[in-house]
């Protein structure tokens, strides 16, 4: 199966439509079960630890982690992976410091907990400013990521993509509350975990399931400069593009310190190779 980025792809559009229908279905189902503030904010305390873990994992595997880390690795090589470590390390710290007071007091938000012992108004204003500042930066990046992804996959206009994603997100949070939010995230987490595991498995399969063999391919040579820019992938990318066009790349060592790369591309169906 071939796919071209930027062209509408029937499978991708079908999956996207399916996920929107599923999200809205969960929202309708959840809104019928949401009757009290406890339902809206805390899903009526009915979510089990495992379900909540999956939902948090769904939050974690966002556009920032998927597109952001993939983009960083594309731009700066495997060094980009250290970004994902910072994401992960924040979670245990949140659990050590905040989870228990939140559970003990039976409150819904961090601001509720702090406001129980301190003056309500300034604490809530401070918490709102903090939350809005984080959301502004975080959400803008997420929406740009989602909009661009949908534009690339389906060829939808960027503005339309952002509006569709925004409306679906608002709908499930406002109407479905925490029950819908949790279940939408659980569905997303299971889909992403399954998809990423399959992809990782398929990539590793080409290296006999040995990750070391995968990384060894991108090792810098002994004499290369340690801080040289670039990925070390340039020639490899050139080769894959040229081979797709039935050409070939050859390396010739002419003299002791000279190396020549010969790129051959066929000009037409019958013509002989034209060397560049």
């Amino acid at each position: 199966m071939t796919s071209a980025i930027g062209e509408p792809n029937a499978t991708a559009i079908a999956f996207f439509a399916l996920f929107i229908v599923l999200s809205l279905g969960i929202t309708v189902w959840a809104s019928r079960r949401t009757r009290t503030a406890d339902h809206f904010y805390a899903a009526g305390r009915s979510v089990t630890a495992f379900q909540n873990g999956l939902a948090l994992a769904g939050d974690y595997m966002s556009a920032a982690s998927f597109l952001g880390i993939a983009g960083l690795v594309a731009v700066s090589g495997f060094d980009g992976l250290i970004y994902s470590i910072g994401f992960l390390v924040g979670w245990p710290i949140v659990m050590f410091l905040i989870a228990e007071p939140l559970r003990n007091l039976g409150r819904y938000t961090f601001a509720d907990v702090v406001a129980t012992r301190l003056r309500q108004t300034p604490i809530r204003i401070a918490a709102a400013i903090g939350a809005l500042a984080v959301i502004a930066f975080y959400l803008i990046a997420q929406m740009v990521g989602a909009g661009n992804l949908i534009r690339l996959l389906f060829g939808l206009p960027y503005e339309a993509a952002v509006v569709i994603v925004g409306v679906v997100m608002l709908a499930y949070v406002l109407f479905g509350g925490m029950i819908a939010t949790t279940w939408v995230q659980i569905v997303k987490a299971v889909l992403l975990l399954a998809g990423a595991t399959i992809l990782a498995g398929l990539v590793l399969m080409r290296f006999n399931f040995n990750p070391l063999a995968l990384f060894e391919r991108f090792r810098r040579g002994e004499n290369s400069e340690p801080d040289a820019p670039g990925l070390g992938l340039g020639l490899w990318i050139v080769r894959s593009i040229i081979e797709r066009h039935s050409g070939s790349v050859r390396v010739e060592r002419t003299a002791a310190a000279r190396t020549r790369f010969v790129l051959s591309l066929p000009l037409g169906q019958d013509s002989a190779d034209d060397q560049v």
């Binding site: 992960l88 228990e100 995968l214 340690p226």
Partner: protein
Amino acid sequence: MLWPHMSNPTQTVDPTLEAVSAARWRMAILLTTTMMVVYFGFILLVAFNKPLLGTPLIAGLSLGMLLGVLVIVAAWVLTWIYVRWANTHYDASLRSLRS
């Protein structure tokens, strides 16, 4: 006492409850500090000693990659320690306080 240094003087607090709460804060701060030291130690090495992290250990594996994986493993291990401690010690002492 919910947060440290925030006890309410008009309220008398059961000394056992105070001890349980203090133990939880010690645990939380110990684990948070460990996580911070591990993470920022790694990030500082990335920032200031790249050649060291680039040292190859075996073909395909550099010291930096190994340490990066170990930071992730450390996050799991610390989480496991906290959950185990909360389930066996903390929740048990809270239950005995309630009864």
